[in-house]
């Protein structure tokens, strides 16, 4: 117990220390040192009314510091992370440990860039390879190895990567899996400037990615698992492909304000735990078309992913670990408090869907537009699972394991609706421009069974309002109010939050979420929150106290569970 207090005290003083001392720019000869620091700590109080369990150490904290040295084309950096006793939501994802798991050296000139160590990278839209980080989610799948980027001619871009993917704080030693890949892109507009001047855009690209993981274990499984039969079968270790290859081709064409983008990816047979060890190849198609002119924009996208979960290790099943690729969730992302837990999570093995967004500005100085114009945003998205018709062998065996699994008609929407969102947002500034108002309505349908593992569908109407009033040049008030009306899941909720800001340094807010429609009387609870933040240039210190509802946090279609909690928190971020 004492240990954790000491730990918190040390981290706290360090964070203040870095906030105060490590400011300004740091020059050594021609080189420059910079970096950033983040600290998140919390004191937990058990609260049975919201299901906040007693945690074994009440004080939790995690912190990191990034140091970056750069000198001309050379740069090097490292990150130290201390997540030994992390906040409980990160602990649940397994992001726990400490050490330097990110370090690199990089040299770059106009022809070549060479990186050794850890790096983040993305090929095209990431359908075959995407190494990225998201600290909020506890996702960091950087590759440890080497990367080369070459620009042999303006408009031609080549990349090659080799690396072992990071898995939380686990050691890289003894790892037998790695990822390698190459990507090429040709941008005709840059090669032929005349084309660009006439407003034409044309780019093509392609890549090849291969994951290596030797299999040493046979897989024994039972046939007819739903009957009394005890017949079992086996996939011998040597029948698991060590090398799993994936490739993708992409293109972008545009003329003036119109543009289309497309990428198609395929992955060869990759029996793994997420796809029931089937040998069917995977595929993904991502298309988008946009048109934009002043005051009007429309974007339409289509995505289909079939058996495209691609990981460094075939037995990995944790929600965020060892992904080689990233099939994007293309729905519009909202930051509304009440529908946070109903954010769509991308389904790389089975999804087909569309997304349409229209932005329109009612012109300034018109009757409806007012002096400053009114912005309208309409959004529609709908995602289904794909249709799967089991192959004869899978039917005969009573299990898809070891077979080609299923066949699937390419453009057919499957029977299960996963997610739908119909929304309209109106953003208006009044003639007295100190008042601004954003009003939005959304109708959301969310498949609880497939996306969260408990029964049913959530259908809900959400009305949200965000009104801000600038009292003087520096003082402002903002009132956020939301109402989710639904008969499903936890029922209806209301939320209100008042924020007062004293620009540019102070933010104070009080908020409350009340789950008044919960079918269980004892769960009709208030989740209040008080917070105060001080911002000074690039340093932010925030204190908060209150309750967090058990839910799901999603950032860009990747989600993690957030346990219920009650307590006081401190967070510090700074860059120097």
């Amino acid at each position: 117990m004492r240990k954790t207090y000491i730990l918190t005290a040390v981290l706290l003083s360090l964070s203040l220390f870095s906030a105060v001392v490590l400011r300004a720019q740091h020059q050594i000869g021609n080189g420059r040192i910079s970096g950033d620091f983040g600290f998140n700590g919390m004191y937990y109080i058990p609260d049975s009314t919201i299901g906040a369990e007693k945690v074994d150490s009440k004080v939790r904290a995690n912190a990191f510091i990034n140091i970056l040295y750069s000198n001309g084309g050379f740069s090097a950096g490292a990150r130290y992370e201390y997540y030994q006793f992390p906040l409980i939501d990160l602990e649940k994802t397994g992001y726990q440990g400490q050490g330097v798991k990110y370090f690199f050296a990089d040299y770059k000139n106009s022809f070549i860039q060479v990186t050794a160590g850890n790096y983040y990278e993305q090929f095209g839209n990431g359908l075959t390879l995407r190494a990225y980080e998201d600290r909020q989610l506890g996702v960091d799948n950087s590759l440890l190895g080497a990367r080369v980027k070459v620009t042999p001619y303006k408009g031609i871009y080549l990349k090659g990567v080799w690396g072992v993917e990071r898995r939380n704080f686990d050691s890289y030693i003894g790892r037998r899996d790695f990822v390698r890949g190459a990507d090429a892109e040709v941008s005709f507009g840059e090669i032929f400037p005349a084309m660009q001047e006439k407003g034409f855009l044309a780019r093509i690209g392609g890549n090849f990615v291969s994951r290596y993981e030797k299999s040493e274990d046979d897989l024994i499984f039972s046939l007819y698992p739903n009957t009394d039969s005890t017949v079992s079968a086996l996939i011998p270790a040597n029948k698991f492909p060590s090398n799993v290859a994936a490739w993708a081709a992409r293109m972008s064409f545009g003329y003036k304000d119109f543009r289309i983008d497309g990428e198609y990816a395929r992955k060869i047979n990759d029996p793994n735990i997420s796809n029931n060890f089937i040998y069917k190849p995977g595929s993904a198609l991502f298309l988008s078309a946009t048109y934009a002119m002043k005051g009007f924009g429309v974007a339409a996208s289509f995505i289909r992913a079939d058996n495209m979960e691609f990981r460094s290790q075939r037995m990995e099943k944790s929600n965020s670990l060892l992904y080689v690729n990233c099939i994007p969730a293309i729905n519009r992302q909202y930051s509304y408090q009440l529908i946070g837990k109903y954010s769509y999570a991308s389904q790389p093995n089975s999804q087909i869907g569309v997304q349409l967004q229209v932005n329109y500005q009612i012109p300034k100085k018109s009757v409806l537009g007012g002096k400053y114009g009114t912005d309208l945003t309409f959004n529609y998205s709908r995602f289904h699972s794909i249709e799967k018709n089991p192959v004869a062998e899978a039917v005969a065996n009573g299990t898809p394991i070891g077979t080609d699994g299923y066949t699937s008609p390419f453009f057919k929407f499957g029977p299960d609706l996963l997610y739908q969102d119909i929304g309209l947002e109106i953003s208006h500034r009044f003639n007295n421009k100190n008042w601004k108002w954003i009003l939005a309505y959304n109708y959301i349908t969310y498949n609880l069974e497939i996306l969260q593992g408990h029964e049913g569908m959530m259908r809900g109407h959400l009305v949200s309002s965000d009104l801000s009033y600038k009292i003087t040049n520096k003082h402002a008030l903002r009132l956020e109010a939301q109402h989710l009306y639904t008969k499903d899941d936890d029922g209806s909720s209301v939320y209100a939050m008042l924020e007062y800001s004293f620009s540019p340094n102070w933010f104070v807010s009080v908020g409350d979420e009340f789950n008044y429609g919960n079918p269980l009387k004892e769960h009709k609870t208030h989740y209040y929150n008080i917070s105060c933040a001080y911002v000074w240039n690039t340093t932010r210190v925030a204190l908060n106290f209150g309750k967090t509802k058990e839910g799901i946090l999603c950032v860009g279609g990747v989600c993690r569970a957030v346990p219920a909690s009650f307590g006081a928190g401190l967070s510090v971020t700074t860059s120097f």
Partner: protein, 169 residues
């Protein structure tokens, strides 16, 4: 446990030692390849404005305070440009999930900013930015003279004062 504290302390001490070094030279933007809205490669060293001040904003279509900040500036932008010659680069950190919608979003709102895409957060990392919104101001020589994270209504006034003082010099 002890080892961890020690490591952390050593790192912090090293960093503070560097902090003692001279602070005369102002820093510049790191050189990172990002993209234009057309998908062409754009190196951040090319962020410039003929000796006039530059505002660089890191934002995303899903970030409400970022949009509030850019919206507040959009109302004044024409006047600012006329008075100070300032140019605003709005660098979106939207990734492939939402980056296709950046252009319709920006044009649909009638923003006159120069918009760039940092789809895998390479520039954000090189700038040591933790969270968006983040904004910095460069003087005519391309040196970073001011930076700030988060947005409170009215903060644009401070930005205006700074670019005004830069354009007078």
């Amino acid at each position: 446990m002890k080892k961890a504290f020690l490591t952390l302390l050593v790192i912090a001490c090293c960093a503070s030692a560097f902090a003692q070094e001279n602070k005369k030279k102002l820093s510049r933007l790191p050189e990172v390849d990002i993209q234009t809205l057309d998908g062409a490669v754009f190196n951040t060293k090319d962020i410039a404005n003929d000796g006039k001040p530059v505002i660089v904003s890191l934002w995303a279509t899903w970030c409400k305070p970022c949009i509030a900040e850019l919206l507040a500036i959009a109302d004044e932008y024409e006047d600012w440009v006329e008075e100070t010659g300032v140019k605003l680069y709005a660098i979106s950190i939207d990734d492939s999930k939402t980056s296709a919608r950046v252009a319709p979003f920006v044009k649909g709102r009638g923003w006159e900013y120069t918009v760039l895409l940092d789809v895998n957060s390479d520039f954000k990392r090189a700038m040591n930015v933790n969270d968006v919104p983040y904004m910095c101001i460069l003087n005519g020589e391309g040196e970073i003279v001011w930076q700030h994270t988060s947005y409170a209504p009215g903060a644009e006034e401070e930005v205006y004062e700074i670019i005004k003082s830069l354009s007078i010099k």
